[in-house]
Amino acid sequence: MQIFDLASADLEFVAEVEARSHQNIKTCYQCGNCTAGCPYTFAYDYSVSQIMRLIQTGQKEAVLKSRSLWLCGSCQSCTTRCPNKIDVALVMDVCRHMAREAGYATERAVKVFADSFLNSVERHGRAYELGLMVEYMARSGRVLTDVDLAPQALRRGKLPFKPHPIKGREQVARIFERFRQGGTNA
């Protein structure tokens, strides 16, 4: 088991999470309600209330490395039921942003899927499902993903072969471009 040195708490990290999420992490009293309701707990390495606790104690490394951040489905169960009205899902989101920025991706497939999706949007202005599948398979190396479903989906016309390009494609591409230049974080 990992042992934490509480004295080495990274208080800047705590402050950054609080600033970016506009949530007061100190109000979490570790009741576990978020964990109790989180449908993804079974897949997590740290349960969501443990993530909250690790943030409280300034354990930056442990938080940003956690696979849970990548598996959160943003289902809002935690946020809706937290007795202290903490927007827990938002905190998870913010930690995932920070993990991304710090170069962590402990659930690589999830990250690759998100990247492929956004690439697709950047390229076409809209998500082009078949294209994004292909990119995902190529980048993740999981070439057999959902091949079992392809025939069904194709037969039913659910996966058009061509993207639906839009006129404002460049406008959308510029959103991404400016985003990358600006280094916006929020």
Partner: protein, 660 residues
């Protein structure tokens, strides 16, 4: 005026950093000071004697003592000057110990400061006038509002102490929540066995008058002399004749309204006696469901009643009593757990409250003491308890701990095992709060001897699956999510202030806190007093409390009442506000501002409106004095002139400074 000044050394406490003789010498230069000296221990017997002697020898009519804080010895010295034959308000104190010698290191500065404080005291004293406390007789009777265990204890102690007691209870019977409980922690003795005899005592005590189905309509007057109007609600049964035989209850054909005594677990007839040990044991009709009162036909009860006491024409009645003191013991109510939609909002019949569970456990309850779950009457094998439902939860506006639910949950887990030996209980908790004699041992027993499985974490949702309820919670100690398929879920609902508490508080001028619990005078040192003289608190109306604490407070309130009424007469503090009718224009601003309702509107002999302070009600805060645009209402002993004199003593007005 002839003023004497005494500068205390307090051994070296003061003299160590203040030049006392020099302060005394300077004081002689102040106006009206005819005598000044320093003294070793002013409060000691020789010290006091010296003051008395000086008053007599020098013919003083005012005394200033510069010593410790007036919060300590002001009463001592007031008594001393009184013994010397002066009015006790012809005395002022300068605090040169706590505010000077103990906080300043430089003797010169301290000495100057001490001199100035003495000067302030002298200037104030020059404007003092003798004040005489009013004496008034008290009514030797006490009103107890609320007949739960706290009110019962207060009433019995007062009555045993020789005072008349009037008890007003909103429900049909006294007993409060405790009457609904099965057994009580930490001893697990039968609730009605311990409470029952006390309830009977209330009914039989010659000094106690009991009004149930009644509420306080209005309260006037002040400590020692309250006038209280009580509304006796129509019961449609003449209680002077009803013998409580119960024949009517058996015959009543209307049985559709939920039974509040059994927490709506079953229905009750429209004419009912809530439970076998009810006090008074009289029948009453629930007008809303009575067929006769709603539709004009039936009258089955009237036909069977052997003493003919049913009266469908009965109306509410108002009764007025004079009392000298009031004990408020209106208890608490339960949090409405429907505010948690994730627990089913009442869609799942087998999710019940802790108090409903007490009724299921109780031999006098709807199931005769057998635990049967509401949906299908089956005996539950897996019972899940959820603590802190509506407590310690900001999102539902209840951030406080209800104090007793941890303990009663442990009790209920124990009783569950007693009733159903092959059952398994689970308790979801956040923290266990068991600070009391034998309390923590009790909760440990629930776990160690009775095998209750305690799980640290809140419950996020409850949902049905087949005939089970899935309780999904967290086990934060294991760090993960847990699920329990339960047969019955018991919610440890928190306590909130009794319905109507805020309105009652307005009538009594007792402030509720933001959650509706009444505020005590001081959280540590005056726990049963309120800021309204003569009104006392007992039990859970002041904040969530278990039975031992409620009983303790009931007795404490009674001792305060007995202390108050044991005096033949009360003396009012004369440092109250006074209206100068010549300046008062009757604008009424002071009346609106006074937090104690101590000012009333009167008419002078020309019929002009004027304000008048009720000496006995005024607490001497002086809020009105600042409010009055005419300067017409002045707080005695702290008048504008007196305070401005102190200001001027510290900062002499410029105009005079220029011409002096």
């Amino acid at each position: 005026m002839r003023i004497g000044v005494f500068i205390c050394h307090c051994g070296s406490n003061i003299a160590g950093t203040v030049d006392c003789p020099s302060v005394a010498a300077t004081a002689l230069t102040y106006p009206d000071v005819v005598f000044s000296t320093d003294t070793m221990y002013a409060c000691s017997e020789p010290g006091q004697d010296a003051i008395i002697q000086a008053v007599k020898d020098k013919n003083l009519d005012g005394v200033v003592v510069a010593s410790c804080t007036p919060r300590m010895h002001e009463p001592t010295f007031r008594r001393a000057v009184e013994r010397a034959g002066l009015n006790r308000y012809m005395f002022e104190m300068a605090n040169i110990r706590e505010h000077v010698s103990w906080i300043g290191k430089i003797k010169e500065q301290n000495t100057v400061k001490a001199s100035e404080l003495v000067r302030m005291a002298v200037e104030k004293l020059r404007r003092n006038r003798p004040l005489v406390a009013k004496r008034f007789e008290t009514v030797k009777r006490v009103l107890v509002i609320g007949g739960g265990v706290a009110g019962i204890q207060a009433a019995l102690d007062c009555a045993d102490g020789g005072q008349e007691v009037v008890m007003v209870e909103r429900e049909q019977s006294i007993g409060g929540k405790m009457a609904k409980l099965d057994k009580t922690f930490p001893t697990v003795d039968c609730s009605s066995c311990v409470l029952g005899p006390k309830m009977v005592d209330i009914a039989q005590h010659p000094k106690i008058t009991l009004y149930t189905c009644s509420e306080v309509e209005s309260v006037g007057g002040y400590v020692g002399n309250f006038q209280v109007t009580i509304r006796k609600k129509a019961t449609y049964v003449d209680w002077s004749k009803c013998t409580g035989c119960g024949l009517c209850v058996e015959k009543c054909p209307s049985r559709k309204h939920p039974d509040p005594f059994n927490e709506n677990l079953c229905n009750a007839p429209s004419i009912n006696i809530p439970f076998p040990q009810a006090i008074p044991k009289k029948a009453a009709i629930n007008a809303a469901s009575c067929i006769m009162l709603q539709k004009g036909k039936c009258g089955a009860c009237a036909k069977v009643c052997p003493v003919k006491c049913i009266d469908f024409e009965m109306k509410d009645e108002l009764v007025t009593v004079d009392v000298g003191a009031v004990v408020v013991a209106t208890g608490y109510d339960l949090f409405d757990w429907h505010k948690y939609p994730q627990y089913g909002e009442g869609r799942y019949k087998d999710v019940i409250t802790s108090l409903q569970y007490e009724r299921l456990l109780s031999a006098s309850g709807p199931t005769g003491g057998h635990i049967k779950r509401p949906s299908d009457g089956k005996e539950p094998k897996t019972v899940v308890f959820v603590q802190c439902v509506g407590s310690r939860d900001k999102s539902v506006g209840r951030p406080y701990c209800s104090g007793f639910c941890c303990m009663y949950t442990a009790k209920q887990a124990i009783l569950t095992k007693d009733h159903v030996p092959d059952s398994q209980s689970y308790v979801f908790y956040m923290d266990i709060r068991s600070p009391g004699k034998g309390y923590d041992e009790f909760t440990r027993r629930a776990m160690e001897e009775y095998g209750a499985q305690y799980v640290r974490g809140r419950v996020s949702m409850i949902y049905p699956k087949g005939d089970k309820l899935i309780v999904r919670g967290a086990d934060t100690l294991a760090g993960t999510q847990v699920e329990v398929p339960a047969d019955l879920v018991v919610l440890a609902v928190g306590a909130e202030s009794a319905k109507g508490a805020v309105q009652l508080g307005e009538k009594l001028r007792v402030a509720p806190d933001q959650y509706g619990f009444f505020v005590e005078s001081h959280p540590k040192l005056k726990p049963v007093e309120t800021n309204t003289a003569g009104v006392f608190l007992a039990g859970a109306c002041q904040g969530p409390k278990d039975i031992p604490a409620s009983v303790g407070q009931g007795s404490a309130a009674a001792s305060k009442v007995l202390g108050l009424l044991s005096k033949k007469e009360l003396e009012s503090d004369p440092a109250v506000s006074r209206v100068n009718p010549a300046r008062c224009v009757g604008c009424g601003k002071c009346i609106l501002t006074c937090p104690f309702g101590a000012i009333k509107a009167v008419a002078d002999r020309f019929g002009n409106p004027k304000a008048e302070v009720i000496d006995t009600v005024c607490q001497g805060c002086g809020i009105c004095t600042v409010t009055c645009p005419q300067g017409a209402i002045q707080l005695e002993h702290f008048t504008d002139n007196q305070i401005l004199a102190e200001v001027n003593a510290l900062c002499p007005p410029k105009i005079f400074a220029n011409f002096e």
